[in-house]
Symmetry: C2
Subunit: 346 residues, 2 copies
């Protein structure tokens, strides 16, 4: 299988290296062959080529079986007046690969419950899968700017809502048969289209229960009753906000993986943390978000479910027994955590 | 002083009655005279007149010194295909009164810390004032809908951002001199206008420290470091989501008041909870959000700071000593809580 890596900026290269090392260890043990090819994206691509998503990078991603991304962005490229921004590379890649469904699973590992801001009793049985629409909404709508005024258009078509809804319901079938759709239908026209489309598609899945929540209520319910939710499907910007809120529950952003999937097989996998410029280059970033993203890559793009589960079990073992990185209260560096995961594969 | 009450739907009338009773008790004790006048808004106004904000209601509000609102909406008027919705009345009223700054204070009363989903140590010293822009953004932008597509436009002018920013900085001066501005400047054009405008206005307030956060990070930081924040200023939709998230920290939505202010004196005051149709009519709704909104009314529209503080102290006394309503683990009804607050005024 051909895997393109896009290490990107900040801690991106460090955590991507770790994930690749784990994938290589899995390859050795399982007899599979993974060919890795690294390309530039984000700030480092701007520095090298002037563009956040160079044509060579995009071409390589399109021909790959899967793409593993580190992180993009950093203060060096954050001037609000800048014409070219690292994030544009990521958004353009998501759009070009057509990965409209961003899966963000949330569990709270028992060893980390003490790090969560939430009370322990709230964290019991939390097992949520967010399905965030990733290629529509205000992220990709028309923008205007004059000296006096700025606008962003949020736009959704019925077809865009249908495909991400179907993905959410199919995933819910394999889980606890419950979908919560989040919108702001009491105010937004796109949310009313969202709600009526989700309601209609739900009828195709009579075995799955559908519930609607307004985004403001959902932001509250995630804290007061997090264990009530199974699959939560929502539009791009609401998903961005709610998944970061939910990530706080897990004790650290550094642990959380994501998979972005489209109709085709090529998926985009990335930890949900950012480029963490404050700790970049020090070899102390938590690689578990990237490593768990690599596990999702095996499961969703390469159909290697057993190998994915092996990685997840190894990560769980390391979380239980250590070593732990700084963000979760330990002192171990990126490489040490990575080695411990590899050791735990056996 | 002339106070228009807009009880609205669901529990709105019950909690508004309680707030009026408290204001009347304050009037007796302080020698002030408040004239109350009640008008229809929301679902009950649709039933009576076909419109969620009848002209008579708006005219009365415009001539009042302050407006005290209960809640609007309910399942009866929630058909997504409906042409007229209760929420439109509230949005139209906010726009017509020009109340562009929605203040939502958040404290966690020690007696309620056990009800908060957050760990107790996180709740120490939490004292945040949200300033949510209330008359712009996607709430009021152009909307389109065809069979296939829907759009919402989010629009901000520099002037709209300036005035709410100034309000936030003025409020921060009276507090801990710290403003956090929340946007999504790495993706949205309106957020880039927001950020550059806030940065420019901040220079007029050299005594106040300004910090920018992205909305997704802020959703996380509110949970991991809530005591770090003083004044948080943000646009309409982000404010809607973040204030509900923050409200969960307080142990119950039922406690939280809000004040919506413009350039003029007439302010709009409402608890942040909704119409709670499930408990409406049973006399069990928590009236403290409405009562604390009445305190904000005295402070911000009538310049009666001492009287406002008296109400707040009485509410605090009731929270410490009981009786408590169901939402905070007690059994007392609306009227009983209201009477206890009035008794505690002395
Ligand atoms: C970097 C940024 C553009 C991105 C987003 O908003 O989608 C990030 O926050 C994420 O959630 O993946
Ligand atoms: C009822 C609804 C339109 C309203 C809003 O979204 O502003 C409410 O959620 C609020 O926060 O006051």
């Amino acid at each position: 299988a051909r895997i393109v890596t896009l290490p990107g900026d900040g801690v991106g290269p460090e955590v991507t290296d770790a994930a690749v090392a784990v994938l290589q260890a899995v390859a050795e043990r399982s007899g599979h062959t993974f060919a890795f090819e690294s390309h530039a994206i984000g700030g480092c691509a701007i520095d090298a080529t002037g563009e956040p998503l160079p044509a060579a990078t995009l071409a390589a991603c399109k021909q790959a079986d899967a793409v593993l991304l580190g992180a993009v962005g950093g203060p060096k490229w954050s001037d609000p007046q800048a014409k070219v921004r690292p994030e544009q590379g990521l958004l353009a890649l998501r759009a070009a690969l057509g990965v409209f469904a961003n899966l963000r699973p949330l569990h709270v590992h028992p060893a980390l419950a003490s790090l969560s801001p939430l009370k322990n009793e709230k964290l019991k049985n939390v097992d949520v899968l967010f399905v965030r629409e990733l290629t529509g909404g205000a992220y990709f709508g028309a923008k205007t700017r004059t000296t006096d005024t700025a606008t962003d258009e949020c736009k959704y078509t019925v077809a865009e809502v249908e495909r991400v809804t179907r993905r959410a319901f199919e995933l819910a079938r394999e889980r606890r048969q419950h979908v919560t759709s989040v919108d702001k239908a009491n105010v937004l026209e796109t949310s009313r289209l969202w709600r009526s489309t989700v309601t209609r598609i739900a009828a195709e899945y009579p075995d799955v229960k559908l519930e609607h929540q307004l985004v403001d209520s959902m932001a509250m319910l995630l804290l007061t009753q997090p264990s009530r939710y199974d699959v939560i499907v929502t539009e791009n910007l609401f998903g961005d906000i709610l998944t970061d809120e939910a990530a706080a529950l897990a004790g650290s952003l550094g642990l959380l993986p994501s998979a972005s999937l489209g109709e085709g097989k090529v998926g985009l996998y990335e930890p949900i943390h950012g480029s963490a410029p404050d700790i970049a280059g020090h070899g102390v970033a938590n690689p578990l978000g990237a490593i768990l993203s690599a596990a999702l890559l095996l499961r969703h793009s390469l159909d290697l479910d057993v190998e994915a589960t092996t990685i997840e079990a190894a990560v769980s073992h390391v979380l239980t027994n250590g070593p732990h990185s700084r963000d979760i209260g330990g002192r171990a560096g990126t490489r040490e955590i990575c080695d411990a995961v590899i050791e735990a594969l056996d």
